[in-house]
Amino acid sequence: MSGNSEIKDRYLKLYKDNIERISGNSSPYINFFREAAFEKFKTLGVPSKKDEAYKYTNLDTFFEHDYKSYFMPAPSDFKKAEEFRCDVPDLDTHGIILLNGFYPTIYDKLRQLPSGVWIGSLNEAAIKFPDKIEKHYGKYAQSETDGLIHLNTSLASDGVFVYVPEGVTLTKPVQVVNLVQSEEDMFNQHRNLVIVEKNAEISLIVCDHTLSPQKFLTNAVTEVFVGENSHFDIIRVQNEHNNACKITHTFIHQEKESVTSSNNITLHGGLIRNSTYHYLGGEKAESYSYGLFLTDKWQHVDNYVNVDHAFPNCTSNQLFKGVLDDMSTGAFAGRILVRKDAQGTNAYQKNNNILLTDDARMFTKPQLEIYADDVKCSHGATIGQLDDDALFYLRSRGINKRDARLMLMFGFAHELIKNIKIEPLRDRMDNLVMQRLKGELSRCASCLVKCDNLQNK
């Protein structure tokens, strides 16, 4: 037993108070997992700093809080969410909006795109495609240590569903905009499932936003299945206010010869924890895990990566970077597990951080467990200040100190932005990162969503 017992009691009550209502709105297959998951949560509890994987992240202040509501959507909410539009210039996507974790549309809850791709509500998909759900739901989000994953399974009822059939390449990315908006402090959880059958290809953009200043706690789980010889990219852009806590768990299961990338870009947020699990479940699979965060004030960002090399001749690469200002803190933990039979593994990990003040702190921890002998593996971590030599080099060309510092920070961040393959999004990210570094980016100005509606109220 671990975790704080008062917190646990709070969530036991939440479960009891809501389980009937939630089950009543969900498909039987999703309900099927709830009880066992909740038993697991009861055993594990909310992770505390005693848990190795959460050593540097204190979730207590967000989990102790008394949230007034556990959201269930009303029709008026659906209408509100439909009015939002993404305003990234030239970014052409298939859009999905989630409001407080729910797919906010009454009609057309599942849309069919060209070539038989389906996108929409997970809850709806569970009714319409029980065979697909039964094959994949709950199969990849496994954990013997993290109670939050089980808390999600026990209570989440909706989220995004994406299905890409065999042999299909979706040229336009799918964009999920997660909106959190409420008049009361709110806890919400959603559950996403992405199925990419073999020889298929898709990019997913996920934008996390808070649209009202209340205290929010989000605990989201995403499961992704990537079939043989398929390509899957996920880019998550997080831009939330300082009073919001976002916890994401992303499980990417790969079959042989598949290639995936994950890129978490955290522009703003109160407390953010991103756990990304890459399971290389077939020969010659490749996974790339990237992350960038920019923090200031009292923000805290924690990236946790777990790469599981279960089969031979796979490649994985992790690159995470942070720029920390004021008294903000950050953490990175990267686990690489190379199983006994995973000969010919290439696994790399790099974590570089810049501290802009004496008060900012960064904790970084590699964790390599290697049971095979024919393995190429490397890891490196740096925590430092801006390079004085580089700063002088720029200044010696007439660039003033402030701009030279900005240029160096931007260059540092751009190394991750450049991995975004979707050009308009890459340009936009460069732009937002520059604004963020200049201190010009307020939560609203940076929002990828048009908030006119909100401001006019």
């Binding site: 390079d387 004085d388 030599d389 580089a390 002088f392 080099y393 720029l394 200044r395 010696s396 060309r397 007439g398 660039i399 003033n400 100190k401 701009d403 030279a404 240029m407 160096l408 931007f410 260059g411 540092f412 961040a413 751009h414 190394e415 450049k418």
Partner: protein
């Protein structure tokens, strides 16, 4: 243009420059030679405004202004350029953005409008041709993954872009093969005008076959101990520095 008077400077408490006197007039090329550790790079750093070096005594006047009071960036805007002995790699910052920022800062200082994107690219193209650098280099991050020769050529390219009044080239020839050396020297000769000056710091005479100096100085133990015409470089090449050291020691004894 530049008057250095009894300049003394230290790095981390260690005295490096022990009273340098030097005057440079418009249009002149001065070579500064000398054995390792004599203070050549420190002198270059002082002139470019590196904080690491502490000036303890003396003065440097540049076009009548006190150079030592100016920040590194202001010196650059006023026309001082340092070609680095070890150019710095800056991942993630493209050459284009770097040069655009530098050129436009300089223009702003002169009260000129920033260059339009197309004028700027045209300028880049012309200067690249002038100094014979590979056009692909300009699309990469600053010096990232450049070979030693490419880095030095890139310094000359930046010099061509910024058109300095006083360029200080700190061992730009070190580590270059003969072809790269020729490119670097030709670049300098093309940029050379009657009103701009160069300080060429080098160990070897061979660069001075291509860039012909008006004056050659020998810096030894933090002082300029000998000044003569270009023939001094040949003499140094032939005889090494030992005879200079002896001369200095004899002078002190006398």
């Amino acid at each position: 243009m530049l008057v250095i008077n009894n300049l003394k400077a230290s790095i981390e408490g260690k005295n490096i420059l022990k009273g340098v006197n030097l005057e440079i007039k418009p249009g002149e090329i001065h070579a500064i030679m000398g054995p390792n550790g004599s203070g050549k790079s420190t002198l270059a750093s002082v002139l470019a405004g590196r904080d690491l070096v502490k000036v303890t005594e003396g003065s440097v006047t540049y076009f009548g202004k006190n150079l030592l009071e100016m920040s590194a960036e202001d010196r650059a805007k006023e026309g001082i350029f340092l070609g680095f002995q070890y150019p710095i790699e800056i991942p993630g910052v493209s050459m284009v953005n770097f040069m655009k920022a530098a050129v436009n800062e300089q223009r702003k200082h002169k009260g000129l409008e920033p260059l339009s994107a197309s004028d700027f690219l045209k300028m880049m193209r012309e200067k690249k041709e002038l100094v014979e650098i590979d056009s692909k280099l300009a699309n990469r991050s600053v010096n990232e993954g450049f070979s030693g020769g490419e880095k030095k050529k890139n310094e000359i390219f930046q010099m061509a872009m910024l058109e300095p009044k006083l360029a200080i080239l700190d061992e730009t020839d070190s580590g270059l093969d003969i072809d790269a050396l020729r490119v670097v020297a030709n670049g300098v000769n093309k940029i050379k005008r009657p009103d701009n000056s160069f300080i060429v710091i080098t160990h070897y005479q061979r660069l001075l076959d291509y860039i012909v100096p008006d004056v050659v100085h020998v810096l030894y133990d933090g002082r300029i101990v000998k000044t003569a015409g270009k023939e001094l470089a040949l003499e140094l090449e032939e005889k090494g520095y030992d005879w200079i050291k002896k001369e200095v020691e004899n002078n002190i004894l006398a």
